[in-house]
């Protein structure tokens, strides 16, 4: 159970009931997220990525910290990510090679080359594939949580929404529905300062996302989204509260989107000094490393080793993925229905 370097007697106690192994695991997920995205960026520049590339640089902690608060495993909690929640997917058990295959449109990708980037799910592992239309996953997750409640299963749903996405009608309908029925749902609102090029002040007239949910009669907290342990702790509380049947809980994570909306976006609308400040003073991984080392919960060498193992893992995954074939054209026609009706026939064959 214990790793090779135990904390010294002087170390402050580890918060939130976490073990040292868990702290290191969290670190590994943070690093895995960033390294995988860096590799994807390289592949994007080589024109190997099909479609856009969406980075979560600077937001890794809120993804990893929140998903880490869920109970993972078959038939446990269920999470629905946004495109920037690659870290949450990794925590729930998505393999880096699956994500690479998606971005590279390989036959063996989880969607078989049908839907883009991290739009894929695995109900067994506990995550649900999103669609692009912002807000729509809130009602769907409300329904998943409703099923948990109707069947009296001790399971919780968790769904993410952006500072922009909260303006969508489906968000309102979904969170209100969930709140009115007190289903076990946790909603994580990501205040990352931008919705594409639009700042929050054009999106809504309150200051915090937590203010935006006051309408629903649910508790709402704002946490430092770049403090992975704070995010973990707040989510853990919300998840357990929901599991106890106390209904919906909202967590706002304050963070910053340090890259453009997608790789093609040069972010000219972003004040340079803001970017610099968040990169230098508030990088979630740097902060976590300082905390781990400063508190004596980990040693530098351990982290270096994790970094190295992550690099090797990603290298191997990328190499493997690059050698894989594209999907066969006719595979496009299957699976529209469970029980294929005549409409799925190849019409042109008759010509």
């Amino acid at each position: 159970m214990a790793s090779h370097a135990a904390p010294t007697a002087q170390s402050p106690p580890i918060p939130a009931g976490l073990s040292r192994d868990q702290l290191l695991e969290i670190y590994r997920y943070l690093r895995l997220t960033r390294t995988l995205e860096e590799r994807l960026t390289a592949l994007y520049r080589q024109s190997k990525v099909v479609g856009g590339l969406f980075r979560s640089l600077g937001q890794e902690a809120e993804s990893v910290g929140s998903a880490y608060a869920l109970e993972r495993g078959s038939h446990r909690d269920l999470m629905s990510p946004l495109t920037r929640n690659l870290g949450s997917m990794l925590v729930m058990g998505a393999a880096p090679i699956q994500i690479l295959r998606q971005y590279l449109a390989r036959a063996e990708s989880p969607t078989g080359g049908r839907d883009l980037n991290i739009h894929f799910g695995d109900l067994e592992r506990g995550y649900l594939g999103q669609i692009s239309h912002l807000g729509d996953m809130i009602p769907v997750m409300a329904g998943i949580a409703l099923a948990f409640k109707l069947r009296r299963e001790p399971r919780v749903g968790l769904v993410y929404i952006g500072d922009g996405g909260m303006s969508a009608g489906a968000f309102h309908e979904g969170i209100n529905f969930a709140a009115a029925r007190r289903v076990p749902l946790v909603v994580v609102g990501e205040y990352n300062h931008w919705a594409y090029s639009t700042p929050p002040r054009k999106q809504f007239a309150v200051e915090h996302l937590a203010d935006r949910v006051k309408a629903y009669g649910i508790p709402a907290v704002s946490v430092d989204g770049n403090d992975v342990l704070a995010v973990y702790e707040a989510t853990r509380f919300a998840v357990e509260r929901a599991r106890q049947g106390k209904g919906v809980h909202f967590i706002e994570v304050k963070t910053y989107r340090r890259k453009g909306h997608a790789e093609h976006d040069d972010q000219h609308y972003v004040p340079q000094h803001e970017l610099e400040w968040w990169a230098k003073e508030n990088d979630p991984i740097d902060r976590y490393v300082q905390r781990l080392l400063g508190s004596g919960w980990a040693e530098e060498q351990e982290l270096k080793e994790i970094d190295e193992r992550v690099r090797v893992e990603i290298d191997a995954a990328a190499d493997a993925c690059l050698g894989e074939p594209a999907p066969g054209p006719e595979s496009a026609l299957a699976d529209v229905y469970g029980d294929p009706p005549a409409a799925e026939r190849l019409w042109f064959r008759s010509v």
């Binding site: 969607t111 049908r114 839907d115 739009h119 894929f120 799910g121 109900l123 649900l128 594939g129 669609i131 692009s132 239309h133 729509d136 809130i138 009602p139 769907v140 997750m141 409300a142 329904g143 998943i144 949580a145 409703l146 099923a147 948990f148 109707l150 069947r151 009608g169 489906a170 309908e173 979904g174 209100n176 529905f177 009115a180 029925r181 699976d335 529209v336 229905y337 469970g338 029980d339 009706p341 005549a342 409409a343 008759s350």
Partner: protein, 325 residues
């Protein structure tokens, strides 16, 4: 054999499925203690409990989205739209999320969205709509549209058992107007995807569905007296269309009149005409014709509604013209 209305048959179908399978539950506006605006679920909340007959906020996107989420988890939700006109508020959810779930993510989404549709009841532009054309264009959805009490029951049961999302359109003009004797000891399951010959004939095929089935049957009787023998096909399932049944009839009569209550431009008749062209062109002895509503929002004043919607007389007139072609 008890005589039941179309509405009662639908009710029975829902009731039987609720009894048979505890995964089935109902959600919608006022479906619980009130029993739904048209009383389709009257008594359900009392029998099955408020957890299985859920009164929701006025949020069609959430109703449909939540049904989809529950369906992913293995439930069998039946979502009611108070009037089918309000399904437009869930258009995004249905076409983008629900319809694609299996294809893009392998997610089974066995759910039914049902609600009262159609005109002839002075409901005006927002309580009389025919929405099949809005969803007919979306691969991944199925659409059924019963015209008889038997199919009202048989199709709702089949829709609930189907592993894919099904839009079930029930015509409010038929609710209490159509009665039929249904066997009590037989489980009625109308297969999805299968049309039905409602009236045999040789001179001309009328392909139709919903309320206009009855107008077409009336027309067929009148035409019979003139010696024009009309075959009437009740589609029952609109998506997927039963091409085979359509072609069988067209190849027999060599003439096709398509009748639907929906407006003309972009209505289903277009697709049917195109398919017959592709699959039975050589058999056609005359142009495929359509009798439909006019291309306007549906007005409520009786004089206007009667004029805009297709009537028996319009079918007779068009059929006669085509028979003489």
């Amino acid at each position: 054999m008890a005589e039941v209305t179309y509405l009662e048959a639908l009710r029975q179908g829902l009731w039987e499925e609720m009894e048979r399978d505890e995964r089935v539950f109902i959600l919608g506006e006022d479906v619980g203690s009130y029993g739904g605006a048209f009383k389709v679920t009257e008594g359900f909340a009392k029998q099955f409990g408020e957890e299985r007959v859920i009164d929701t906020p006025i949020s069609e996107a959430a109703i449909v989205g939540a049904a989809a989420g529950a369906a992913h988890m293995g439930m069998r939700p039946v979502a009611e739209m108070q009037f089918i006109d309000f399904i437009s508020c869930a258009y995004d959810m249905l076409t983008n999320y629900v319809a694609t779930a299996r294809y893009r993510a392998g997610l089974p989404t066995p759910m039914v969205v049902r609600g009262p549709c159609g005109g002839y009841v002075r409901g005006g532009p927002f309580h009389s709509q025919n929405v099949e054309a809005a969803f007919f264009h979306t691969p991944g959805l199925k659409i059924v549209y019963p015209a008889t009490a038997r199919d009202a029951k048989g199709l709702v049961k089949s829709a609930i058992r189907d592993d894919d999302p099904v839009i079930y359109l029930e015509h409010k003009w038929l609710y209490r107007r159509i009665k039929e004797r249904l066997p009590e000891d037989e489980e009625i399951l109308t297969p999805i995807g299968a049309a039905r010959v409602a009236h045999e004939g040789n001179d001309l095929s009328v392909v139709t569905y919903g309320a206009t089935l009855w107008k077409s049957l009336e027309a067929a009787e009148q035409l019979d007296k003139d010696g024009v023998s009309v075959e009437v096909l009740d589609l029952r399932t609109l998506l997927p269309l039963d091409d085979a049944a359509i072609m069988r009839s067209v190849k027999k009569t060599n003439k096709l009149l398509i009748v639907h209550e929906d407006t003309r431009t972009g209505g289903l008749a277009g697709e049917i005409a195109a398919r017959v062209n592709e699959q039975a062109f050589e058999w056609l002895d005359g142009p495929i014709m359509r009798v439909t509503a006019h291309d306007v929002p549906l007005p409520y004043a009786p004089t206007l509604e009667d004029f805009v919607l297709p009537q028996t007389g319009d079918i007779v007139k068009a059929a006669r013209w085509l028979a003489a072609y």
